[in-house]
Symmetry: C2
Subunit: 467 residues, 2 copies
C-alpha cells in the first residue's frame, strides 16, 4: 500500500474531523417514515385533483389576464382547503402583454393561410414581404447587414425530442434573440418554426426580448407543419407572406405570488421551499406548464403535513414565470435577507413526465444526506445524477444569490410536443406519472425538513443584484 | 359420394357451360406484367410528388373557394404534365358555403375559450345558453320535447380508432343528424365532440344537413380536449357558453370534375375508372383527404400508360365531395347512359394508410379474374376480403345505378386523428405507404383494363334517380 506523506495525512485528518463536525445527517427513523410516505403518495390522487381543478375551473391564466386574477384567488382557496397553516400573497408587478388576434398568409399564386401565434412581447402590426429562410440563428447572424431590408426573416430550426429537452436551449434562443438579430439585418417581420417537437397545427408561443435600442417588429411562431409548408414554398421560388398581429404591451399589472405553509414542529423559521408557477400561457390550459408543478407541490406538502416535519414546508405558486420569471425575481428581492432560512428549494416546472434523476447544489458535508434521500427515491426509478440538474425557473434568481437547490428531473421527451401550445391540456397528463412526481417531492421535502444540518444556503459575495 | 338428381345435374351443367362461356379472364402474360408493374410502382415517387404538389402549391381547396378554382387549373396542368392523352372538365354546380370566423367560450366563473369549428352547412349567428350534455344521438333523441328550449345541445360521443373506421358511422351521424334533432327539442345551438380520434386542439369540421322544415341553428364541433373540458365543467354545475359563428350559404358556385384519360389500345370506348376528390376542407391542406387519392390515381394511370392497356384508363378528380358528393352525383347524371362502358371503378378516399383488403361487386363469372388480381396484390399485404368493401364516396352514386366497383381498403386506424382538421397536412403521409397504395391501384387498374370480359356493369332497374 502507498503511504501518504505525514503532513498531508495530518491535514486530511483535520479536514475530516471538521467535515464530520458539520455533516448534515438524516436519521434512520426519518428514512423509514419517508419510505411509507412514498408508498402512500403513489396511491394518493391529491396532485391530480389539484391539477384538474386549476386547469378546469380557471383554465388559461396568462400573466395580467382575468384568468391570472382568478388563479390567485383559486390558489389561496386551495391552500386553505388542503389544510395549510398559513396562506398569504406577495405582490408581483410586470408589464401587461395582451394578445388580441394573429393571422398570417402566403400571398400570390400559392395563397393559403399559415397557422401562427405571436411571440410574447411582440408588438402588433401588419407586415408584408418576401420570406428569407435561415436554418438557424447562426445563419441569420451571418446574413449581410441590410440584406433583410423590407423582408421577413424565417428561422427554421428543427428541435428533436430529448429526455432532458436539451434542444430547447437552441429553440428558445431562436425565439428570444432571433427577432433582434432580424431587426439588425433590416427585417420588417420575423417568423420561426415553433420551438417544439410535435407535428400539429398548434404553434408554440413564448417570450421574446428585443434588445435595447432596436425598434421591435411583429414576431411570431409558425406551427411545425406550417414551417415545413413555408419551407417547401420558399424552395419553389420567391414567396411573400403577410403577418398581421394585434398584440402588445398595455400598461402594468400587479399579480401575486401565492404562498402556503405547513409550520415546522421544531424549527418553524427554517424553510424547505417547493413550488411551481401559477400562470400559464393563454393558448392552452397550462396543464404540464405548470398546473402540474402546482399540483405536485401542493400535494407533496399536504401529504407531509400529518408527519409534523421539523422544519416549515413552504409552497410557492409563482406569478408570471412565463414572461420573465417575474414571480421568482420578486420573491428573491423580498426575501433577500432570508437566504439561510431557506434551507433548500426545488421547483417542478418541466411537466409531469416521470422523474428520473435527482441532483442538488449541496456541499460535500451534505452529500451523505443527499445520498440518503436518493436511497428513498430509488424505488421510484430515480437516480442520483450529480451535475445533471439545476435550479428550475422561479427559484433560479434566489439560488443565484446563494439559496441551496435540489432538482428532481422529469422525463421531458414529450414536453416540447405541448409546451406553450393550445394542446397543453389536462388529458396530456398521466395520473400515475403525476403520483410518482408527488411521491418524489414528498420524500425530498420531508427528509430535507427532517435533516439535521443545512444544505449550504448562504449569501454569495458575487451574487447578481436582485432585479 | 352423393349423386345429384338428373335434372339438377343437367341444369348445373348447362349453367356451368353458360358461366364458362361468359367467364371474365385475365391472361397469364398480363399477370406477369402486373407483377413487374407492382415492383416498379413501389420504387416510384410520382404519387408522392403529385400529393406534395397539390397540398403545397394549392393548399386548402374547399368547394367554392379561390383554392377550388386553383385546384381545377392545377389538375388539368398535372394531367397534361403526366402525359395523359385526353384532359377535360365537366361542370359541377352546388351551393357555396363560406366560413368567415368561429368562436366559442365558457361564460361565468370558469370563463375560458373553447376551440370550435363550424359544421359545413351551419348558418352564422351568436347564441348563448346553458349546455345540456348527451352521450350520443339516441340520448338526444330521447330528450323530452321542448326540453332544450333556449339551451345549447352538446353531444359528447367518443370515437375509437379502428382499422376500418367503423365508429365514423356513429360520429358522422351525430354530425349529420344531431343539429336537426336538437332543433326538434328546442335548442338554439349545437355543439358536438369532434368526430375524431385524436387529442389535439384541432376540431373536426364536416357537413351537417338540416331536415326540411326546420330553422337551422349555429352548429359546431369542439376539439376533443375541449369536449372533455366542457364535460368536466358541466359535471361541476350549470355551464353557459356563447357560440359565435360567421358562416353560411352565399349563392351558388360552379366547379369542375377534372378528368384525364389514357386511351385504350384495343377498346378505347371501355373505361376503367379510378380517382379521388379534388376538393378538401378549408382547415388543413387536405393531404389524406384527399390529395392522396388524387396522387394515387394519377400516378397509377401514369405508370400503366407505357404498358398500353387494352381499355381506356380514366382518372376523375371529383369536385366538392365534402359537401355532398356533388362531383359524384354530377358524374353519374352526365354519364348515366354509359354505365356498361364503365367496366369497373375504384376510388381512393380513405387516406394513405397501407391497403390491406380488396373487394368488388363482381358477379360470379368475374370472380376468378378478381382472384387473379388479388394474387398479384397479395405480396403488398392485401387480402381478398369479399363483403368487406364498398364503392368509395364519389363513385357511390354511379355504382348505385349499376356500375361495377372495386375497393382497395386503406388502414384507417389513424385516419380520424386527422380527418377534416387543420392537421390534415402532407407530413402525415408516409411516402412508402403511399407507394404501396399506388402499386395496388396500378395493378388493379392494369389488370381490369386487360381483362377479357366484364365485371358486371349494367343499369339497375331499381336504381335511385340521379340527383
Amino acid at each position: 500500500m502507498r503511504r501518504l506523506p505525514l503532513l498531508l495525512a495530518l491535514t486530511c485528518a483535520i479536514a475530516s474531523a471538521a467535515a464530520a463536525e458539520r455533516e448534515t445527517r438524516i436519521a434512520d427513523a426519518a428514512l423509514a417514515t419517508a419510505a411509507k410516505l412514498r408508498e402512500a403518495a403513489l396511491a394518493d390522487d391529491t396532485g391530480w385533483k389539484v391539477t384538474e381543478s386549476l386547469t378546469t375551473e380557471v383554465g388559461p391564466r396568462m400573466g395580467g389576464s382575468e384568468g391570472d386574477a382568478r388563479a390567485v384567488a383559486w390558489a389561496q382557496a386551495k391552500f386553505r382547503e388542503l389544510g395549510f397553516d398559513k396562506v398569504w400573497t406577495e405582490p408581483v408587478t410586470f408589464p401587461k402583454w395582451v394578445r388580441r388576434s394573429e393571422r398570417a398568409e402566403v400571398l400570390g399564386a400559392h395563397s393559403q393561410p399559415l397557422y401562427v401565434t405571436a411571440l410574447g412581447g411582440s408588438p402588433g402590426g401588419t407586415v408584408e414581404g418576401e420570406v428569407v429562410r435561415f436554418e438557424g440563428l447562426e445563419a441569420l447572424q451571418a446574413a449581410p447587414e441590410g440584406s433583410l431590408k423590407g423582408k421577413i426573416a424565417f428561422v427554421d430550426f428543427t428541435m428533436e425530442r430529448k429526455r432532458d429537452g436539451a434542444d430547447y436551449r437552441i429553440g428558445g434562443g431562436i425565439r428570444g434573440r432571433g427577432p433582434s438579430e432580424a431587426i439588425r439585418k433590416g427585417a420588417i417581420g420575423y417568423v420561426m418554426r415553433s420551438a417544439g417537437t410535435d407535428s400539429h397545427r398548434v404553434p408554440h408561443t413564448g417570450m421574446t426580448r428585443f434588445a435595447d435600442g432596436l425598434t421591435p417588429i411583429p414576431s411570431a411562431a409558425l406551427s411545425v407543419p406550417d414551417a415545413e409548408q413555408l419551407s417547401r414554398l420558399v424552395a419553389l421560388g420567391p414567396t411573400r407572406i403577410r403577418l398581421s398581429l394585434d398584440c402588445g404591451i398595455d400598461g402594468e399589472y400587479t399579480s401575486y405570488n401565492v404562498i402556503g405553509e405547513i409550520t415546522g414542529r421544531k424549527k418553524p423559521d427554517e424553510v424547505v421551499l417547493i413550488g411551481g408557477h401559477l400562470d400559464s400561457w393563454d393558448l392552452g390550459t397550462g396543464a404540464i406548464d405548470d398546473a402540474a408543478g402546482i399540483g405536485i407541490s401542493m400535494a407533496a406538502a399536504k401529504l407531509v403535513k400529518p408527519l409534523k416535519p421539523a422544519r416549515t414546508i413552504r409552497v410557492v405558486a409563482f406569478a408570471n414565470e412565463e414572461q420573465g420569471l417575474h414571480g421568482g425575481f420578486a420573491y428573491a428581492k423580498k426575501h433577500a435577507a432570508e437566504i439561510e432560512r431557506h434551507v433548500i428549494a426545488a421547483e417542478s416546472d418541466f411537466g409531469a413526465g416521470r422523474i428520473y434523476a435527482f441532483d442538488s447544489s449541496a456541499p460535500d458535508y451534505a452529500q451523505n444526506a443527499i445520498r440518503r434521500i436518493a436511497g428513498v427515491l430509488a424505488p421510484l426509478g430515480i437516480e442520483l445524477q450529480p451535475g445533471e440538474g439545476g435550479p428550475e425557473s422561479d427559484i433560479g434568481p434566489f439560488a443565484a444569490q446563494g439559496m441551496a437547490w435540489a432538482s428532481l428531473n422529469h422525463d421531458g421527451t414529450q414536453y416540447f410536443d405541448l409546451h406553450h401550445t393550445a394542446d397543453d391540456t389536462l388529458d396530456k397528463i398521466d395520473p400515475k406519472d403525476l403520483a410518482q412526481n408527488v411521491a418524489a417531492y414528498a420524500v425530498f421535502t420531508y427528509l430535507a425538513a427532517e435533516a439535521q444540518g443545512d444544505f449550504g444556503s448562504a449569501p454569495k459575495a458575487e451574487a447578481p443584484p436582485a432585479r
